[in-house]
Point group: C2
Chain length 360, copies 2
């Protein structure tokens, strides 16, 4: 018998005291040995798919839960950070924040990229079950109900950072004030005198993106500027999406004098679309980004943007997870939205008068 | 008795077959139980400091080694990536590369920041001993002999990426062609017609930095331009160091017409020093960076730089570690230097004639 199974056998009784259903109940009902049920619980590979499915179903139907406190008391404590892509420039800000808090607590940090925005994939789930971290921080993605239960039945809690979609009511999350950020970006451009303000949103199936568009729209309407759907393009939060959206906007018969780019990377795409057209930033076109990644201050011209406190969001998520694993009474579905703020640099200015010949 | 000790007891005999000294020998000599020796080997905290020191000394004097293959066959396999600072922009390129290879091999990645360029610290070492990864990738830092032996005696191999210092002959490392990179940077500026070429080096106790300066110097001398120590300033690989070095160079009575900045971040510091002085890049001052981080193409003006294949270096390091853990005959001290290459963008140009009035 392997040591992993030993550990489960030792800790399960502790956990079971606090629960209605014990692993022994599950084993009896399934007609399996306790060792086999333990193997499934611990993500071991030496169990048939059929047996695994049967046990999972019973764990689920009985609502078997193990508190993280009972699990984590063993060997090295870990926390998992899952990205759908590490590609994005702001991944490092999140890693830094989580690592800082984890290290101080003597917890090691596992970083994984899922490659899929909507589901972390089987290999990852099985890995988590065998690694038994104190918790998981998911960037962007919520989990499907089955995966959530798989994790919870092993005492693995989770927090979503910057949720792509409205998280289920039972899920803890840390976001930032996206609507207020979008509002502040448009407000800044309006206060400079712009009236024809384009926007490039992120993917329209992502909540943070929809909230930024709504904030932008409300700022316009509040200033008496009617919303023009033609001026909003859907991007991908990357340079490419920004370039594409800005190219379309700048080629309109009546192009905007300012673009709220929805993300710093998209703002760089706007710069790239403006350059070959001889459109100068900020003389002919004001640009506002979103995120305030470190490079925003170094680009040419330095980018006016909305600061999203990514490091703080990451730290808060890590602290929440640690608390969940240490305090049996900690709520498992708290939500926080941290504040965003406008950072004015050199990419925004009052609009040029038409007579001056915008675009040379 | 805990499961961690169980596991050690089970796997040690396997490892011992291939070795001269068994744990039982060590235990007998120390007058301790085998369980206690195992605890030390597995980084458990419930052993007195005195006992721990005695066992470590015996492990060391007998040259006790455990191959990673014997260790890793247990539960979830991990690889550890240790940075002295995650701050630096290029950390994400390294993380991405290691994560890609690790994930494909079904290995999870642990990321830690040591906060110290010269030693990873006790907390980290103890953590590694209890986590038992298949190996460790160290960015920058070699390890002191004692730490190296601690890791090796547990079958934990290691590879240094971008070694700060000449690695010991027994250590595997992946670097890049720093001398050739420095040479290519200076060569490019010389070919544009520059003769007064400043350089901002990285910290002068870092090997990669010394090699870049030597390459720069050799290119100058080969072109018949005598080396002027006044034109070389020591930086810190960050924006601040670049700003400071460039300020000193630009304030010389006879300032350089070009600066090789030693890193992309230092190049941004050069931009920042040039701006308030009315020195235009590239009209009045050519600037070459080093690294080719993603933002290099987005800064104003887009930065000519030396591309260091960080992602590839990271991937190679991960592959080497995996091979060491799977193949008992894999060499443990291989070294590779990957090629660097010049990427020409918009921050370099022929020098302005003095009569044209450099600086407006």
């Amino acid at each position: 018998m392997s040591s992993t199974t030993d550990r489960a056998d030792q800790t399960d009784p502790i956990a079971a005291v606090q629960r209605r259903v014990t692993l022994a109940d599950i084993a009896t009902e399934a007609g399996l040995s306790l060792a086999t049920v333990s193997k499934v619980l611990n993500g071991r590979s030496d169990v048939s798919e059929l047996t695994r499915a049967r046990v999972e179903k019973l764990l689920h139907s009985h609502g078997y839960l193990r508190r993280a406190t009972a699990v984590a008391s063993g060997s090295a404590r870990m926390v998992e950070l899952l990205f759908h892509e590490l590609e994005s420039e702001w991944a490092i800000e999140i890693i830094r924040g989580v690592e800082r808090v984890a290290r101080q607590a003597g917890i090691s940090l596992i970083v994984t990229e899922s490659g899929d925005r909507h589901s972390p994939g089987h290999a990852w789930i099985d890995g988590v079950l065998s690694r038994r971290p104190i918790g998981v921080i998911l960037v962007f993605s919520d989990l499907d109900p089955q995966t959530k239960h798989k994790l919870r039945s092993r005492g693995v809690n989770f927090v979503v950072v910057d949720p792509a979609d409205e998280p289920e009511p039972d899920v803890a999350s840390i976001g930032s004030a996206n609507w207020a950020g979008g509002f502040a970006a448009a407000q800044h451009l309006l206060s400079l005198g712009h009236r024809r303000i384009g926007m490039i949103s992120g993917p329209d199936d992502m909540l943070c993106s929809v909230a930024r568009v709504d904030g932008y729209r409300s700022a316009l309407e509040r200033a008496g500027v009617s919303f023009d759907a033609e001026l909003v393009r859907v991007g991908d939060f990357h340079v490419d999406g920004g370039r594409r959206g800005a190219s379309e906007l700048l080629d309109l018969p009546d192009p905007p004098t300012a673009i709220f780019a929805g993300s710093d990377l998209q703002a760089l795409g706007v710069y790239e679309a403006a350059r070959p057209r001889g459109v100068r930033v900020p003389e002919d076109l004001s640009v506002v980004g979103y995120d305030d990644l470190r490079f925003a201050r170094w680009v040419g011209p330095p980018l006016t943007t909305i600061r999203q406190p990514l490091g703080e969001m990451a730290e808060t998520a890590a602290r929440m997870l640690i608390r969940m694993s240490e305090d049996p009474d900690a709520p498992l579905n708290q939500r926080f939205d941290l504040a965003t703020s406008l950072v004015v640099r050199a990419s925004t200015a009052p609009p040029a008068r038409r007579a001056d010949g915008a675009g040379l």
